[in-house]
């Protein structure tokens, strides 16, 4: 019930914020902030209080209620450590988004917060529901408000970006719907029980060919969202055109739903097909790392640059997931959190810069350190995080992923590690173009962070350092999930080997 409350509070808060904004826009902002903070604190409280249960056999929280019994649709939500960690990330970045929009969004404030909170509700829903029908529902819930966020409050080319985002995600989402229905009917025909329940469907026996196709359907939605090269091209447009809050949520959270989907659904439901596809998927991941890094290096638009770094970082996620070992999986979990924080913060910084100098063009910036060392320092931390400096969260993630991937494929790991060098190149380019070098004309228009921006950025900085030094808090939470998923894949592998031995 708690989990439903999380989502319900957000949805109700969104409606309330929309209505209230007719009379008082500031109150609407406060309502949005309060709502997200309530969720944040509640979820942190759960994480802290349920810490001893992480290693237990059950899900931490679970709630089932039959909804449309005739079609086997139930309101079933459940959270394990992984979900909880991602939920906290969601609410944290949600609060960040509300605060960074305080000054930036001035028209249709109520509708903005409505969309913002509903996106968050959709994301939170995706992270907790375990009924595939509801999963698809929430998948759409997070899509449509996001479309409005980009299309209404975005930058100059927002319509194009919004439509592109919508077409990519919607088309891939429909493929997932097909797969969900396919799975539903195959399972129904085999067993006679038609259900969308995740646990029930986990036991479904699907033929090899059918499994492959169904898996591809799921995977399509997730790798477009992740995104994996060559399905990434909606991302730079969407990220660079969205308002700051939109970029933060897109990069920090929406991309994570793709990775979560692969971990939660693709691997456990179709372990055989996943193993078959692993080498291709890892290659795509590495291609993403290198391609994203290369393109990031070539950009002149700050937000676009950061967007391409996301492509690169999500390549690591893809590489890690399909390496199938605990190190890589934990690395992926960490990468989700770390990338959410670091890229989110970089977008916040981009927003802060845009607010001051009204441009995202790197070639117009330069020499800002003198006037605004605080922004400079914060940016430095996140730039270092994005290039994988040890001591910060991203390093832990990339180290574990590559270390795990090494056990799966040497060549791909080496190629992926090359991405680290390119990451260095594009990351330092950010510092050089914005903060170092001779002072540009824009430098006089810069002012250092306001209190409101500090309130957002300082916790993010501390968190990214904290997770770099004490990553074990996250690993403890996700350990059981990771091991369970890994167990499914390993069993499938063992079965395959056994079959091969029995029928040579």
């Amino acid at each position: 019930m708690t989990l439903i409350a999380f989502i319900g509070i957000l949805m109700a808060g969104g409606l309330l914020a929309w209505i209230i904004a007719r009379w008082n826009e500031t109150l609407s902002r406060w309502i949005a902030l309060t709502v997200v903070l309530i969720d944040l604190m509640w979820s942190v409280a759960i994480l802290v209080s349920r810490r001893p249960d992480f290693s237990g056999t059950d899900w931490l929280i679970r709630f089932d209620y039959p909804w449309i019994g005739r079609f086997g649709i139930g309101i079933s939500v459940a959270a394990d450590g992984l979900s909880l960690v991602l939920l906290i990330l969601t609410f944290f970045l949600g609060a960040v988004s509300v605060v960074v929009s305080w000054r930036e969004i001035r028209d249709r404030v109520g509708f903005f917060h409505f969309n913002l909170l509903w996106v968050l509700a959709g994301i939170a829903g995706v992270f907790v529901v375990i009924d595939l029908f509801l999963f698809y529902f929430f998948w759409e819930v997070m899509l449509i408000p996001m479309y409005f966020l980009i299309g209404t409050w975005g930058h100059e080319n927002r319509r194009y970006a919004a439509v592109k985002f919508f077409i990519f995600t919607q088309a891939s989402g429909l493929m997932m719907l097909l797969s969900i229905l396919g799975l539903y009917f195959i399972h129904g025909i085999n067993t006679g029980t038609y259900t969308f329940d995740y646990f029930e469907l986990l036991t479904a026996t699907v033929g090899t060919t059918a499994g492959r196709w169904l898996m591809l359907g799921f995977l399509a939605a997730f790798i477009v969202k992740l995104p994996v090269v060559p399905f990434h091209s909606w991302l730079p447009d969407a990220h660079s055109q969205a308002p700051t809050a939109g970029s933060v949520i897109l990069a920090g959270l929406l991309l994570k739903t793709g990775a979560y989907g692969i971990l939660r659904f693709v691997l456990p439901l179709f372990p055989d097909a996943s193993r078959e596809l692993a080498s291709i998927a890892m290659t795509l991941g590495v291609a993403g790392i290198l391609y994203g890094a290369l393109l990031a290096y070539g950009q002149t638009d700050f937000k676009r640059l950061v967007a391409y770094t996301s492509v690169s970082h999500m390549g690591f996620v893809m590489l890690g997931i399909f390496s199938f070992n605990e190190l890589a999986f934990q690395g992926v979990v960490m990468q989700l959190v770390a990338h959410g924080l670091s890229t989110g913060a970089l977008f916040v910084i981009a927003g802060a810069l845009y607010e001051r100098i009204h441009t995202r063009d790197l070639s117009l910036m330069g020499g800002f350190w003198t006037g605004t060392p605080f922004i400079g320092f914060i940016t430095l931390v996140f730039v270092m995080a994005s290039l994988g400096l040890p001591g910060l969260a991203n390093f832990i993630a990339e180290f574990l992923i590559l270390n795990g991937a090494w056990q799966a494929s040497h060549a791909l790991t080496v190629a992926g590690a090359m991405g680290l060098i390119l990451a260095m190149a594009y990351s330092l380019r950010i510092m050089r173009k914005i903060f170092f070098g001779p002072a540009s004309d824009m430098a006089s228009r810069m002012s250092d962070l306001t209190l409101r921006e500090k309130v957002v950025l300082v916790p993010m900085t501390l968190l990214v350092i904290f997770l770099g030094l004490f990553p074990q808090h996250v690993f403890n939470a996700s350990e059981k999930t990771v091991k369970d998923i890994l167990g499914v894949v390993m069993r499938s592998q063992a079965d395959a080997i056994q079959n091969a031995n029995e029928n040579p």
Binding site: S233, Y297, P390, W406, M418, P471
Partner: protein
């Protein structure tokens, strides 16, 4: 466990200093900043001395685990400090030389607006470097390894307004990152084999896991060598160091001479078991060292920038250390690191004093005659230079370099070629050192001295000058009076060098040869630059291409620009618009074009529509009949 249990204070103090300066540095007055910056490192140095005393009374290997960092599967590195003789030597140098350089910087950087930032970075550097050498596992070592890289980046680009400095900083960071990535891959390989990244575990398990000379050991060792070569500016990743001189001079002294660049030496010495397993890797280390020391030495002869001369000489001296490592003379390498740290820091600090005194003049040919105007600097610089040139008997550089040369010849893994390379290197070293001293301090005063260093700059110079003479006597060849404090001290950690039997008798001859070569170098230098004015110009004119090649560091920069920088930049530019996006844009374009094409049929004339229906019906019925 006595005082050693407070080991965690050693890196923590500089870290606290750094954090304090980062958080509140802008609101502090300069004296407070200075006392935090220098004081934290000073306290850390004191702690090291206390710990050192305790350690000497009870030498052992101490492990202090602070907290469990990561525990995923078999990968369980913790934040743990590992103290043995090797790391003790390193942390002593780091904190002690570091403290002296901090003290020097208090005055040197006194006018700079980025005072707090400077000390924050410097403190952070000391902390990272300490973590690097104290790390009990390779992951923590890698943390320190990258941390020093970051600080090096920040400090080289300290004067960020000048794009050239930023370029040098990025170059340093990226080139070392290339090596670091190789090292990272090496870590993966080690972990895949040993299921652990704990240094002790790896070193103790390696000999039983890998056969002597097995190819996998070679690969692992070479990958680590990649990291070491990057950090220590060895071939083929050496070309960042001369540019790194763009940073403030104390930075060059601390990071790019005394400590960070020797991290590679530390790494190889620390992982000696792995390298011993692979003769190929050992030979590679030796050859890399030998070639580097030669090419850097020759480059140093042609430089006109005071700091670049020293930078190339640093590369060259580290080449000696690699040579020593390559022939298995582990203690000799560390000994040379020890002496080099003092005399090279001294030389850099002296250079800083000169540059500061001459309004940031870097060109040695516009100096001259400083002997009388900056006497303290001259004397101390001379001590350092003598040590660098390995002036026989009285300087520490002589003893450490002699030790390396001896093992290069006599060591089991040594060879004639390596020895000759070392010998030629010694000649070149003496030559460029003499050139440097003569051009800078003798002759006419070309530039007027505007500012004389105060006590906070001269005191470190004096201390370091004394040390660069004295520390040599810690390890004296046994045919003199046999002091083996260093190798004895390190004996528990590093294997002793094995020498060919029956060769000890030649030691005298070898020492004599080395001394003669050094003196010969000094004499040539004297002859070319002092006794016959204009001769060096003549030589330069005679071989312009060679001179230019040596001046440019043998064209590695141009080569790398051509091979890597240009293609990547071109590729990034070319694909800026995202080629893959073109596919989707193409699809969208086709859809729009098709829409336009079909839309023309919707012309509003009803009879056409009816006709369309009829033709459609006709087609369907025809199909129905035919199929």
């Amino acid at each position: 466990m006595n005082a050693v249990q407070y080991l965690w204070l050693v890196p923590l103090l500089p870290l606290l200093g750094a954090v304090l300066l980062i958080v509140a540095g802008r609101n502090m007055s300069k004296p407070i900043i200075a006392s935090i910056g220098a004081g934290s490192v000073g306290l850390s140095a004191l702690t090291v001395i206390v710990i050192g005393v305790a350690f000497l009374s009870n030498p052992d290997v101490y492990e202090i685990s602070v907290w469990q960092w990561i525990a995923v599967g078999n990968l369980t590195p913790s934040i743990e400090l590992h103290l043995d003789a090797l790391s003790l030597m390193f942390i002593f140098v780091i904190t002690f030389v570091g403290f002296l350089i901090h003290l020097y910087s208090v005055e040197f950087m006194g006018e700079d607006s980025g005072y707090a930032r400077f000390f924050a970075c410097l403190n952070l550097f000391v902390c990272s470097m300490l973590l690097l050498v104290l790390a009990g596992n390779l992951v923590l070592l890698y943390l320190g390894w990258e941390g020093v890289g970051l600080c090096s980046y920040l400090l080289i680009g300290f004067w960020y307004e000048d794009p050239k400095n930023g370029y040098a900083a990025r170059k340093a960071f990226i080139i070392t990152r290339v090596g670091d990535t190789a090292m990272l891959i090496g870590l993966f390989l080690l972990f895949a084999t040993f299921n652990s990244l704990d240094i002790e575990t790896i070193l103790s398990a390696a000999p039983s896991r890998w056969e002597q000379g097995s190819s996998i050991a070679t690969v692992a060792a070479l990958l680590l060598l990649g990291g070491a070569a990057g950090k220590s500016a060895q071939l083929p990743l050496q070309n960042w160091l001369p540019d790194a001189m763009a940073g403030p001079t104390p930075v060059s002294a601390l990071i790019h001479a005394a400590t960070m660049v020797t991290a590679g030496v530390y790494l190889i010495a620390r992982m000696n078991v792995l390298f011993e397993l692979s003769p190929v890797a050992m030979t590679t280390v030796g050859v890399v060292g030998a070639v580097t020391l030669l090419i850097a030495g020759f480059s140093a002869m042609t430089q006109t920038d005071l700091k670049r001369v020293l930078a190339y000489s640093t590369i060259s001296q580290i080449g000696y250390m690699f040579l020593a490592l390559g022939v298995g003379a582990w203690s000799a390498a560390i000994f040379h690191f020890f002496t080099h740290a003092f005399f090279k820091a001294l030389l850099f600090l002296g250079a800083g004093a000169i540059i500061e005194a001459l309004h940031h003049e870097h060109n040695i040919f516009r100096m001259g005659g400083l002997r009388k105007q900056l006497p303290i600097v001259f004397i101390t610089f001379l001590a350092g230079a003598a040590s660098l040139a390995a002036l026989p008997l009285v300087t520490s550089g002589f003893y450490s370099k002699d030790m390396i040369l001896w093992y290069a010849w006599a060591g089991e893994k040594g060879s004639g070629l390596l020895f000759i390379a070392g010998l030629v290197g010694a000649l070149v070293t003496a030559l460029y050192t003499t050139r440097l001293v003569i051009v800078t301090f003798f002759g006419y005063a070309n530039t007027r001295v505007s500012k004389r260093p105060g006590w906070r700059m001269t005191m470190p110079l004096g201390v370091l000058a004394a040390l660069s003479v004295v520390v040599g006597f810690l390890e004296v060849p046994h045919n003199f009076w046999h002091a083996q404090l260093i190798s004895g001290f390190l004996g528990g950690v590093l294997p002793a060098a094995v020498i060919d039997s029956g060769i000890e008798a030649y030691e005298w001859a070898l020492q004599l040869l080395a001394a003669v070569v050094t003196l010969g170098g000094i004499f040539i230098g004297y002859f070319v630059y002092m006794a016959t004015p204009g001769l060096h110009e003549l030589v330069k004119k005679k071989f312009p291409t060679l001179h230019q090649l040596m001046y440019d560091g043998w064209g590695f920069d141009a080569l790398y620009t051509l091979l890597f920088v240009k293609p990547v930049t071109w590729l990034a530019r070319a694909s800026r618009g995202d080629v893959i996006d073109g596919i989707y844009t193409g699809i969208a374009w086709v859809a729009i074009a098709a829409n336009r094409a079909i839309a023309t049929t919707q012309n509003g004339v009803m009879r056409w529509y009816v006709l369309g229906i009829v033709v459609g019906a006709l087609l369907i019925i025809t199909l129905g009949i035919l199929v």
